[in-house]
Symmetry: C2
């Protein structure tokens, strides 16, 4: 091993993705505690949930710790193009202003995002060839091809003077991925033979036994399923799964159906994949307008909207708000899984389709989907190849990461460590050890404004959602006397609550003695009286505000 | 068939449960269109979801159509004691004031609810023996024992002068239900031989192939699973599944563990089941206080909270807010399924347990649960026994009911009809036919107040949740001039939105000319200016209110 300066350490710092499946953001630091150089692996978003974070579409990590030392951030290396790995770049790059590195398909999709954000002139995206190599200060990084549910997913072999880290990104072991090469087992085995310090690895399916299966098997199943259907067919799925799109297109053509791409993402991804050359065998599609004149059993619509997104193509079709119409005798295939939290929206969509008489087929009843993440047998295979000294599960909720760590221990990995976002782990030298807790939190993209979760706007709105609002405005003269009839605003509060609240307000104001109460005291008296009356009448406590206008 | 008066019809009217799994409320009417007598089968709630109906715990049907003719409502017949079948009684009975009929265990739980609501003095609950008989005007009703995930689930054979309807309630075909008798196949077969007009049947699992399985098999699995575990064990599940509670208790005793009931529902259900004699073989439990002094592997906690409910026992244990502590080496078994919509709450609970080092076992990885509803093989069996002329799927979302209807048609049932709540179906005489659409909707229990969904309080709060609120209060003198600095309230709105909104308000008021604008026009000008400024700065449109105080 290369000679290292005294005090040099190799540390790992996840700022996102350790505790949630989403917003992956992992940093590796090399140097002394006072002077580290950093690289970042991935920069993704998490999707907000109306129940928890109403009004927030996407969530990303708070990276202030690295932003404050951005002169030491050497670059950001992207493993693949899923939103939970690249979706935050356009929002967070201005805090870092570092160079980006990605393989062709990923780079193309990043550039599209940067262009939308008006950042394309400023940001340098270096295109790394498949199985390419990047050197950033003390980090020498090899891209290693893995299979996943998107083209060009890569592990990173990160060589440092203190040892090699294998950072898997998202992966599975698909013996027939249909697009791209199979996972590069020889490279992983070779790394294992050379000696790997740490494996930082995908935990998504650590709770699932067995093997995730192959895209080729899904293709066979789709071909035979689609061949047997009459009427119109719509298939919905994740647009980024280009191999799946290709399988569906092949199944359509095998059944004598024209393929119609419906929804902006479908066009965007197919174009990107074609342009960079990772999709060479996709049949010509017909336009929505052309499709309308085709007989029902000569057409297959490939639609966005598998997660029940209200503005996506399938939801608009189901609502009758789209040129494409489906009805009795037609079939919709969900070639996708349910992302947790989307159940009710997806079921509502499926109910609308059922009400139109459409048959709805899903992975629950037909083999139309396979996961892109490693199940336990695949994780075992990876550990047998890489044989790391330290296992660091990432890309999971706590339950997935703990299970993953248990699995690693059962495979005799000497150290398996579950981190929370913001915990800095020293990987070398010496035993793996927590050496710092950095500020870590979440940013909400609230409308167009990036705010800290800690600012509490979404939490405040959640309170409004639960129990509404009562706002009282009082007008006082210069002696502090009530000078006009106050206003009282009720929002989201049942009518029967009004009368008792009005009465309580009147009573509180009648007791008001301007000589004995200052403005703050008056506001608090009124607030408590109003809130108590609402709680008594309703059983819930609304957000209660009192404003005073002085004449 | 008995001679019937001219113009007499038998109709079926679901007011709840046709379109959702929950709030079951089904009415059968007999008589002429102008003069029908009614019976009601079940009166349940649906649980609210924070994302869709924030601040609403339970939802129930709007029964105004029957309430307006309550003198013609002969009685309410309850099939079993699940909340989605009896949970609305205490809220809706005052609108109907009819007699209630239920088997002993169900009657006991209804009486407890009525007592809590202070209605026990007013309401008559007639206890029907197992396989008992109720006569209500032209309706002669036989209770027929079925198996389900609660003691004493019953189908109703409803005999009328125009034919027999079999109303299944909730059921499965469990060959070894552990508590109570097996499903009464001879009675169903006999009805089929006599001729059944209509089968009104549970659709919950119509999308699931095969058979739902048996409680006895779950018991065997739990016994062997629990025998192999060390450390503390907590098992959570649905308290109303008394057979399951008994299985868990047996498994505990077989492993030399004391059983501890944790959570109010556990005690309530076990006591009720014991009192009415349907649970005779439940081991003595020890108290939480006694349990604390027992060695970890001598105790099993049977806990409420399998759906991630924040105030239930398991959530409080996971949060460290309970006398019972769990940690590394301990195990929690979720002997339950995830009710759709509860995923994120349950996963959050499991993540908290995982972070404590607790092993979490669920039906995903271990055989610890079986559904209480019929899968497709069981539905087929029911249709073979009953051989109805008309199939009316109920107790399902649209996708379940459509699939159920398809299944019935494939079994050569002549008519299979999917209804929406409020649609009145004539079952006889003649072909089944929609004869009326009655007012149907939902009531929200909002705090303690029952409001109509149509009143829009939850919808208004959902809007507040999405984009917050801006409220402006203006003070005008008697000439309509601005008489004081206005107040502006921002709730749930990011700080950067304030300045542009304040500026827009100032600008709008500077343009205000009291001679040329009335109060309504001023309010609208201000509202639009504020809302537009917020939308421009934020990308979202908050709820915007303008109040005026006149001096």
């Amino acid at each position: 091993m290369t000679q290292t300066a005294a005090g040099c350490e190799l540390v790992f710092l996840p700022l996102g993705g350790s505790g949630e499946i989403g917003m992956n953001f992992n940093a590796y630091g090399y140097g002394s505690a006072d002077d580290r150089e950093w690289i970042i692996a991935d920069c993704g978003v998490l999707f907000g949930r109306e129940a928890n974070t109403p009004g927030v579409d996407v969530i990303m990590p708070d990276i202030r710790f690295l932003a404050e030392q951005r002169q030491n951030v050497l670059g950001m290396v992207l493993t693949h193009a899923h939103e939970d790995h690249i979706g935050a770049i356009a929002h967070l790059w201005p805090q870092l202003r570092c160079p980006l590195f990605a393989t062709p398909f990923t780079a193309r999709l990043i550039e599209e995002k940067l262009a939308e954000a008006g950042l394309d002139e400023e940001v340098a995206v270096t295109v790394v060839p498949i199985s390419g190599h990047v050197v950033l200060g003390p980090f020498e990084i090899d891209y290693i091809t893995l299979t996943h549910s998107i083209p060009e997913s890569n592990a990173l072999a990160i060589r440092t003077p203190l040892g090699v880290v294998v950072h898997t990104g998202d992966w599975k072991l698909d013996p027939e991925p249909l697009l791209g090469s199979v996972s590069d087992a020889p490279a992983l085995r070779k790394l294992g033979n050379e000696g790997v310090l740490a494996l930082v690895c995908d935990s998504t399916n650590a709770l699932s036994a067995g093997h995730s299966g192959s895209e080729a098997a899904v293709r066979e199943s789709l071909i035979s399923l689609i061949a047997g259907l009459k009427g119109r067919i719509a298939v919905t799925g994740f647009a980024s799964n280009v191999a799946r799109l290709q399988s569906i297109a092949h199944a359509a053509r095998a059944a004598g159906r024209e393929i119609v791409l419906v929804g902006r993402s479908m066009h965007r991804i197919v174009n990107a994949a074609r342009d960079v050359g990772c999709l060479t065998d996709f049949p010509a599609s017909v336009s929505e307008d052309e499709a309308v004149s085709l007989p029902p059993d000569r057409v297959l619509f490939l639609c966005t909207g598998s997660q029940g997104e209200a503005r996506a193509a399938l939801a608009r079709i189901a609502a009758g708000e789209h040129n494409i119409k489906l009805g009795r005798g037609d079939t919709v295939i969900f070639s996708s899984r349910i992302i947790p939290g989307n159940e009710l929206a997806i079921f509502e969509l499926q109910n609308r389709l059922a009400a139109l008489g459409v048959s709805v087929l899903t992975e629950k009843d037909h083999f139309v989907h396979t996961s892109g993440h490693p199940c336990r047998d695949e994780l075992e295979q990876m550990y047998r190849w890489v044989r790391p000294h330290i296992a660091v599960p990432v890309h999971g909720e706590r339950r997935h990461m703990e299970e993953h760590a248990q699995l690693a221990r059962s495979l005799q990995v000497p150290e398996a460590i579950v981190l929370e976002n913001g915990q800095m782990l020293r990987l070398a030298p010496g035993r793996a050890q927590l050496v710092d807790e950095t500020p870590a939190g979440r940013l909400h993209l609230d409308g167009r404004i990036l705010v800290s979760e800690g600012d509490g706007y979404a939490r405040a709105r959640r309170s409004l959602g639960f129990a509404g609002l009562i706002a009282v405005t009082l007008v006082l003269d210069h002696k502090g006397r009530i000078a006009a009839e106050p206003t009282i605003l009720f929002e989201g509060i049942p009518d029967p609550v009004r009368q008792p609240v009005n009465a309580a307000l009147g009573e509180a104001l009648r007791r008001h003695n301007p000589r004995r109460a200052d403005e703050a005291a008056l506001k608090e008296v009124v607030r408590l009286a109003v809130r108590r009356a609402a709680a008594n009448a309703w059983g819930k406590k609304p957000v209660t505000r009192v404003e005073v206008i002085r004449l």
